[in-house]
């Protein structure tokens, strides 16, 4: 009962807190997807990567007692899925969107299979930084509990922007994404560049998954992720392939996800499921409003199959 002390004011507060809390997995997955897409390939399998990350991170944290080790293992698991995606897509005639769908189903199935024994036990959670020590109101203190991973993600967005814009590696990734021929002409292997980008993207998506199981909601079950991965993919399009826009969009989507629970906490329970679907409505609406059938989206990597 988060909003008990301050009544209806609890709703915007919980939404703001949710923007940070529920937005963190969106942030990591969308930054990972952004990097992959910048290299010219789309990975729809990040939904599966997210769930695998959540499961493997939770399992590791439970077995070793260290949530940070869990985050690392989740990232490595995500990289493996990224490598699988990139490896399959580098074969001639293999379609990246189809491989993504396959890995979405494979990752989810594998996570459910391996995660069966993890539903009961309680793993240690990631620590949070208490920024609300000055307040006596419980919901305010609750809202200002910021997880370290969010701060990492918030720093990662400008870092990725800088890396893509101003470093040699960023330039190579962008060339591979804008013109495979140009990259080849310059002597870079397009497949290797995309492998590196997809593996790194998978690492970030895996970390996003570990946030789900190790912090919020903070347990492992089969209903843990319902579409955050795919929403994050759509979010990258909405963010026009800009890391900073990904950050703002993640906050927006996090806030939308928190709407249902926030309203429930002040006693509005009737439309609970509909409010929970708010992020999907929002994604669809934004895609309808911001895309166009006539001209290419600005900022889209030219090699990307999804925008051609």
């Amino acid at each position: 009962m988060a909003g008990l002390g301050i009544g209806w004011w609890g709703v915007p507060l919980a939404v703001a807190a949710g923007a940070v809390r529920a937005g963190t997995p969106f942030l990591f997955v969308s930054l990972g997807e952004l990097l992959t897409e910048k290299s010219g390939r789309i990975n729809l399998g990040l939904e599966g990567t997210l769930v695998m990350g959540a499961m493997s991170g939770y399992g590791t944290a439970y077995l070793t007692g260290s949530p940070w080790l869990g985050v690392l293992v989740a990232g490595v698991t995500g990289s493996l899925f990224g490598a699988l995606h990139a490896g399959l897509c580098s074969l001639p005639r293999v379609n990246d969107i189809a491989v993504g769908i396959a890995l979405m189903l494979f990752g989810t199935g594998l996570a459910f299979y391996l995660g069966k024994p993890l539903i009961q036990p309680q793993a240690p959670s990631l620590p949070a930084i208490q920024l609300g020590w000055w307040s006596d109101v419980a919901p305010v203190r609750d809202a200002l509990k910021i997880n370290t991973l969010f701060i990492v993600g918030a720093l990662l967005a400008p870092a990725l922007l800088w890396a893509l814009r101003s470093t040699r590696w960023g330039m190579i990734v962008r060339i591979a994404g804008d013109s495979a021929d140009a990259a080849r002409a310059m002597g870079y292997s397009v497949n290797w560049v995309r492998l590196a980008a997809t593996v790194t993207g998978g690492f970030l998506a895996g970390i996003g998954g570990s946030f789900l199981s190790l912090y919020y909601p903070g347990s492992w079950n089969e209903g843990l992720s319902s579409g955050q991965g795919i929403t994050a993919v759509a979010l990258v399009i909405f963010a026009r392939w800009s890391p900073m826009n990904c950050f703002y969009a993640s906050l927006l989507f996090g806030g939308a996800s928190a709407l249902g629970p926030a309203l429930q906490s002040v006693g509005v329970t009737s439309g609970y499921y509909l409010f929970n679907a708010a992020p999907y409505f929002l994604t669809l609406l934004i895609m309808v409003l911001t895309t166009s059938s006539e001209h290419r989206l600005s900022g889209a990597p030219s090699e990307l199959s999804i925008t051609r």
């Binding site: 293999v94 769908i101 579409g227």
Partner: protein, 375 residues
């Protein structure tokens, strides 16, 4: 000029065929068809071997797994009927992916059409139940379910054509929205107060349920699916409409230049696909579950995507592939009980098959044996 070229090339073909003593049909038609059967079949064998390795890691003898899979899918009359029953929704949900694929769209929201179709069907059927003959109730339910599914997927088709919204992402988002609507209604206005532990809607009376095929414990839904496949095959491969739709899939720009109404074709194709998904949901409600509940979203839509890919998006090939996956699903229970494997084992196998099938795409055109002789 053009006819001359065609005529001379036909003559050359005839000469070549005569010279090599191989009838045209054997290599140039049967070759690609054989390739489309042999490569996926090989991929399936590889997947089963990989899956065997996977269960071996879990300490289970792969040979036990294989034998229980055979036993659970075709080992007895009971399991054969079980396989057929489980295949019937897959036939229809696979069409939901396969038909738009013919027109170049990758739709993965069959689960959404399934849920929305089933939900709409039961909402339309309940007030009629008891007031109208069972046949009429089912007809209305099927019609409403198909229309609901058609609108659901056609929405994604329309957004794709007129707003450039990627249909793969939009259909998946629509699935989550559809499931949310289902849960909202089942726990709200539709809820039967008698369902305490698991919220569900009011039941359809037994008299109005879809009956079994005489002599079997398999409902008529299987036949609906097969009829739909045959209809879709004729429509897509033997009519002008189908040719136009496939032309849109092959080369949208050429289709537009040829004056084809691309938007209308996309709308109709996605509507037919959605109708297949909606009908699957209606059958699930009216033949199996009898009432709306959260279990309606059991993943038939997702398995349907895999069936469509393995069938290489061909509506007729969907039938045997759906039977195969019906068998895999049917054997899942036996694997769970006898070998103590988790229920997600079937999902892992499906995932492995999906990945290997896509990897095998790269083999097409690599084998000389399937090619026409080049002189």
């Amino acid at each position: 000029m053009a006819t001359e070229v065609v005529a001379s090339s036909v003559a050359a073909d005839d000469k070549r065929a005569a010279a090599s003593h191989t009838p045209l049909l054997r290599r140039e038609v049967l070759g690609p068809a054989a390739e489309a059967v042999v490569i996926p079949f090989g991929a399936l064998v590889v997947s089963l071997l990989l899956f065997g390795g996977f269960v071996a890691l879990a300490g289970v003898n792969p040979l036990d797994v294989y034998s229980y899979m055979v036993l659970g899918s075709v080992g007895s009359w009971f399991s054969i009927q079980n396989t057929l029953t489980r295949a019937s929704p897959l036939i229809l949900t696979a069409l939901c992916t396969a038909l738009p694929a013919q027109a170049g769209l990758m739709i993965i929201g069959g689960e959404g059409a399934f849920v929305v179709g089933g939900l709409a069907a039961i909402v339309a059927g309940l007030p009629l139940a008891g007031a109208a003959p069972a046949f009429a109730v089912q007809l209305v339910m099927a019609a409403v379910g198909m229309v609901a599914g058609a609108l659901w997927i056609a929405l994604a088709g329309a957004l794709r054509h007129w707003r450039g919204v990627n249909e793969t992402i939009s259909t998946l988002l629509l699935t989550y929205i559809g499931i949310a609507i289902l849960n909202h209604l089942v726990e709200g206005v539709l809820r039967d107060p008698a369902s305490l532990n698991k919220p569900s809607g009011y039941p359809l009376p037994d008299a109005d349920m879809i009956a079994n095929i005489p002599g079997m414990d398999v409902h008529w839904g299987l036949v609906y699916g097969i009829v739909f496949c045959v209809f879709a095959y004729i429509l897509f491969f033997h009519t002008t409409f189908g040719f136009s739709a496939r032309m849109v899939g092959g080369n949208p720009r050429a289709a537009r230049l040829a004056g084809l109404p691309v938007g209308r074709l996309v709308l109709i194709v996605t509507a037919i696909a959605g109708a297949a998904g909606g009908l699957a949901g209606m059958v699930e409600i009216a033949a199996v579950q009898g009432r709306a509940s959260a279990t309606l979203a059991a993943g038939y839509g997702y398995t349907g995507i895999l069936v469509a890919f393995l069938a290489r998006q061909n509506p007729i090939a969907v039938i045997p592939v759906a039977l195969l996956f019906g068998g895999i699903n049917a054997s899942g229970g036996l694997l769970q009980r006898r070998l103590d494997l988790p229920d997600a084992t079937v999902l892992v196998l499906q995932g492995i098959i999906f990945v290997v099938i896509l990897a095998s795409e790269t083999l097409f055109g690599r084998f000389r044996i399937f090619r026409a002789k080049e002189n």
